[in-house]
């Protein structure tokens, strides 16, 4: 069976036809060509496929596309507004908190969702909030410092 449905991604409606077992990460990347959402472990562990579902971080590799119907999905492509970088994106660039960049969309979306809820979070709270995002390049220090710098503004 295939299902034709609408997906709301970054405020825009997209019509897609999917198989029930297709995951959102595959639909985003392969059908909609939105490759900012990355795909790695496919088990929900690494965080590189993070998207926001109604503002909450979820693993898009574990979300059937059909289950995203009716929700507001935010991907990394949706973080900037009117061609202006989100403060977190600008801070990551300014503080060089990016190396290969594979984990970065996941960290940015997780941090955005967290700071939206806890704008004055301290270091310990930020570290705990990022516990599900893996980075193989940076050693995490710059990432945490950068997010903390945005929280402290």
């Amino acid at each position: 069976m295939t299902l034709e449905m609408m997906l709301n991604i970054n405020g825009l409606e997209h019509r897609v036809t999917v198989a029930p077992t297709e995951t959102l990460v595959d639909v985003l990347r392969d059908r909609l060509h939105m490759t900012g959402t990355h795909k790695d472990c496919c088990m929900g562990i690494c965080g590189s496929c993070t998207v926001l579902l109604d503002g909450h971080p979820v693993s898009s590799c574990l979300l059937l596309a059909v289950q995203a119907q009716g929700a507001q999905i935010t991907t990394i492509e949706g973080l900037e507004q009117d061609s202006a970088l989100h403060p977190l994106q600008a801070a990551f660039l300014k503080h060089a908190a990016v190396q290969c960049g594979y984990c970065t969309p996941g960290f940015l979306l997780t941090a955005k969702a967290f700071l939206d809820e806890y704008p004055r979070a301290n270091r310990e709270e930020i570290v705990a909030a990022l516990e599900g995002n893996l980075c193989r390049c940076t050693g995490y220090v710059k990432i945490i410092e950068t997010i903390l710098s945005v929280a402290e503004r």
Binding site: M1, T2, L3, V18, A19, P20, T21, E22, T23, C42, M43, G44, I45, G47, T50, L53, H56, P57, V58, S59, C61, L62, L63, L64, V66, Q67, T110, A129, E131, G132
Partner: protein
């Protein structure tokens, strides 16, 4: 899009009755999907190839956290770990569940994973079963014949196998909430700070102190990651009754625990190491719960 993908049926049940009808008609082929964090992971690894999925996430009746008189907390099967973690009702009525929920995987998983799905998946290392075993919870299972209740201690049959039959659905978890002043603790062991997917052990303890001399009057201990199913540590609990958790008592508890657990060697830890850790973790969790009970008692007087 694989051929296998297009061959899978999918239906979104609006009521429990609809879901049960689909299960019945499919003669055991259809699989319930809720948050999907366990199921889709298995699908991604090609360990599970579905032919039919029944999505129950829109069934209103299965949502919600309700506190009732006579120390009862009712959790709908679709309540997520994140909802439990954040719920002021749960924190007030049963803080052991709050403390345990914070240890589950990571925020992304807690935002989707449901308590009902977690119990039905029955991975031996899951956190919620340890806490529910310590609490003595019961689950309500609905099938063609109606609703039946199963004690959580009877729920886990084997790894990934539970008391829920193919044509049934777990609808609710009913928790007897502890009395005021009950000490509690949940401690999890694993190689990582969070998001462990291999060898973890979790211990949940609830205990109440007796009126005189600070001995334990009532205790429940649940453990996960120590065998094919999570367990309630009955023999260690009996040893603790009337006692304080001093070194000698804890050593006897740990020895008794070894009779009940059956961990396996894996690529990270040996069975012997897990046995040792289970004893140490149980002692630490009991000590923390005891200290909290003492503090609660002091604050009450």
């Amino acid at each position: 899009m694989s051929a296998t993908g297009t061959d899978c049926d999918y239906v979104r049940a609006r009521t429990v009755e609809e879901a049960l009808d689909h299960l019945q008609v499919s003669e055991g082929q259809a699989k319930i999907i809720a948050g999907g964090v366990a199921l889709v992971s298995l699908m991604n690894q090609k360990l599970f190839v579905p032919t039919a999925l029944v999505d129950i996430t829109r069934i209103e009746r299965l949502h919600g956290i309700r506190r009732e008189p006579n120390r009862v907390l009712r959790l709908g099967a679709l309540v997520t770990h994140g909802e439990i973690e954040r719920s002021p009702v749960v924190r007030q009525a049963c803080p052991l569940l709050t403390e345990m929920a914070k240890e589950i995987a990571c925020g992304r998983i807690r935002n989707r994973g449901t308590l009902g799905g977690n119990l039905c998946h029955a991975d031996p290392q899951e956190d919620p079963p340890a806490a529910l075993l310590a609490l003595g919870a019961i689950v309500r299972i609905v099938g063609p014949g109606g609703v039946r209740t199963v004690a959580i201690s009877d729920f886990f049959v084997d790894s990934f196998q539970t008391a829920v039959q193919e044509n049934e659905l777990l609808e609710e978890i009913v928790v007897p909430t502890p009395q005021q002043g009950t000490g509690f603790a949940y401690i999890k062991f694993g190689p990582r700070r969070a998001m462990d997917y291999s060898s973890t052990i979790g211990v949940a303890v609830l205990l109440r102190l007796g009126a005189a001399r600070g001995g334990v009057a009532e205790v429940g201990i649940g453990l996960s990651g120590v065998g094919p199913t999570p367990i309630r540590a009955e023999a260690p609990a009996r040893i603790l009754m009337g006692q304080k958790p001093d070194r000698e008592v804890c050593e006897r508890m740990s020895a008794a625990l070894q009779e009940q657990i059956d961990p396996l060697d894996d690529f990270q830890f040996s069975a012997d190491y897990k046995r040792h850790v289970a004893g140490v973790l149980m002692r630490r969790t009991v000590e923390r719960a005891y200290a909290r009970a003492v503090t609660a008692g002091q604050e009450a007087s």
